[in-house]
Symmetry: C2
């Protein structure tokens, strides 16, 4: 597990070893341009409170500013977004009550820190669920899909509209004037009790704006999610919040450019990508896909990954010929935010809890559309025609020989 | 122009400053995995000749191996590909004959070096055209679209099938048993003398397999290409060569994931992306887009950019409020090859001519399709339906409020 322990983050190594005069240029090449940091220590009073909370409760906090150009007819549309990555707290063998208390405290402190920075929108990681009234094995939902087991894992599934996690988020949303994106495991009682991988979007006034479902379901390595739920059937909804138009592309959907595209076509200005993915499988892909989507679709993307390792009581195999085991692998965190101009924030840690806060001017989306012209030159009519042909059973590839 | 002079390449800075034990991990995070280098100095006799040529004629040469797993029923399908980036040679004020001779020598030496490494397929940069019998201002075609002028630039346009550049490439193809991808400016005499941005694909036996045209045309910064030619009308052809199925996504087409997708759907195993792009405009996007396409489509991508600066006799403006000028900007090279597993080679230099050679096992494409399952989970029927709706004048975005 060299990849877990050697490096806290790519950024930490670069900062330690590369001389200042070249570091600036290296960061331009890697991250697109130099972003302003939100001054967390002293300048912004509210945020110094956040930093104190972070130090006290041992989570990382980073902040960046993504500017746009001045326009005469539109005022700057500044929005502050936060993305959270966190591990489970106590070992899975601890008493449920203790585990529950521990995760309350952790998430409570992170959200409190975020709120002191005047944050408008927050998104948690995939299936982040708090456990309120189900009989559960772990305090925040473990990513249990590797097991292919039913109980106790399916007991985490709850109603998107009326479940305990949504109720908890509604409270938080009202308390802190926060739009909350809450990715859960949804139990759909109206449709035969089926389960979905869902994100609930709650307005800053505490109203459930709606929900969106994971459109593409993995069957790769330990990610046996197709045992639990099917491909989402709600299309690619975009949610009009007080602070801008947002959408949620859940986890494996980030591998599918057409999925990203449809959120853009429906008008999204920020697309959140709550994920759960491990280092051996996807780390080379992680910095590429959400950033490419920001570029291709002229919107902001927020890539959020779990962090830490999760151990399960019963062993399972990975379809790779290796022995059975009890651990999923290392969720490598590294959450980041990318902008339509191709720039991105640095990433959060590969190994610890953290929150990344960004002040975004949403005017950048249309400005970049006007500069690069990707929408104007997209030729969607051509691709509508192409795909109509492709999905026909009689389709023949255009092969010259 | 700090970005031109400070850094030869990202890789050179990392190698110089980061300690060995961490460099390996940094490269894994940046490039996906550690690739084997082709031993250029001593082990492979043919390639030491290439290194000597490179040293003598001052171009960079780098080589990598992309392995695949052993299969029982298919032998390894090893192909060696080469991509070339080069600047013009003499100042544009030199005598035409001298300029011509200089570029002959440069390209001749690069192709000779490539051929000594048993290369199967080579791709030149966008509009790389040699000037044989047209009255031209520069020896290899400058990227003159910033000027919006007609003469002498449009004189570079020539027939894809019977033009002098194709004739030259046919000779090279036969001489070296090389598939050659030759991006040119095409004059289409059969259809009203219009001009296209085209790549000609020539088999290793010297047959013109066909041509493909740039599908997406930029109107951004100095890239006034829509003054010269329209969006390609040949779809997304894939060419069956002796060494595998290849396609060419020309330049600005790399910003459009649907364009990349269609080459994959038509069966491409390697997609070349001959480009011409400058540092102020696109450098943050460069390492992301072709690599994302390799991941999303389970094929290899070869990203090729011009290198150097080109000065034009008459000044032009860039639509950015800045004064008129005679230089396009710095073409930053940085050509690289990406694999379907998300790994990539290091890049060529940002400032000098170079050739990047890769030994590729094409079996990796299907192996990665089988592992990640992106094709199986792509839901093209959903997106065909979506796009049909989107291109309707009555389309309404799916917005929840």
């Amino acid at each position: 597990m060299a990849e877990i322990t050697n490096i806290e983050s790519l950024e930490s190594v670069l900062e330690k070893h590369i001389p200042d005069e070249q570091l600036k240029e290296v960061k331009r090449l890697l991250f697109g341009k130099e972003l302003k940091y939100i001054t967390l220590i002293s300048k912004l009073e509210l945020c110094s409170a956040a930093v104190e909370l972070a130090q006290k409760h041992s989570f990382e906090i980073k902040g960046y500013v993504f500017d746009a150009q001045y326009e005469q007819l539109r005022i700057a549309r500044e929005v502050t977004v936060a993305i959270v990555q966190h591990s489970i707290v106590l070992p899975t063998t601890a008493a449920i009550e203790k585990q529950r208390k521990a995760i309350y405290e952790k998430i409570g402190n992170i959200v409190k820190a975020v709120a002191t920075c005047n944050t408008n929108i927050i998104c948690f990681q995939e299936c982040w669920i708090l456990c309120f009234d189900s009989i559960c094995f772990e305090p925040a939902m473990p990513f249990a899909f590797c097991t292919r087991e039913n109980l106790p894992w399916k007991e985490f599934a709850e109603s998107a509209e009326n479940g305990p996690t949504t109720a908890f988020c509604i409270q938080l949303a009202k308390m802190y004037n926060l739009v909350i994106i809450s990715p859960i495991l949804e139990r759909d009682e109206l449709h035969g009790d089926v389960i979905w991988n869902t994100a609930v979007v709650i307005s800053n006034t505490g109203k459930v704006l709606g929900k969106t479902r994971k459109n593409h379901i993995p069957r790769v390595g330990d990610f046996n999610e197709s045992t639990y739920y099917m491909e989402g059937n709600l299309g690619h909804p975009v949610f009009q919040t007080e602070f801008g138009k947002i959408a949620v592309n859940i986890c494996y959907g980030r591998h599918h450019p057409q999925n990203w595209m449809m959120y853009g076509i429906n008008g999204a200005e920020i697309v959140f990508n709550p994920s759960a993915t491990v280092s051996g499988l996807s780390e080379p892909l992680w910095p590429i896909e959400a950033r490419n989507a920001a570029i291709a679709n002229s919107y902001f993307t927020c890539a959020i990954n779990r962090v830490g390792s999760e151990t399960f009581p019963n062993e399972f195999t990975s379809g790779d010929g290796k022995p059975a085991h009890n651990t999923f692998g290392h969720f490598y965190g590294s959450s980041y935010i990318a902008a339509p101009d191709g720039s991105r924030s640095e990433g959060l840690s590969r190994v610890s809890d953290g929150v990344l806060i960004a002040k975004i001017d949403l005017n950048l989306c249309r400005q970049i559309k006007d500069i690069w012209g990707f929408r104007m030159t997209q030729r969607l009519d051509l691709y509508a025609k192409c795909l109509n042909e492709v999905v026909s059973p009689d389709f023949k590839p255009l092969l010259k020989q």
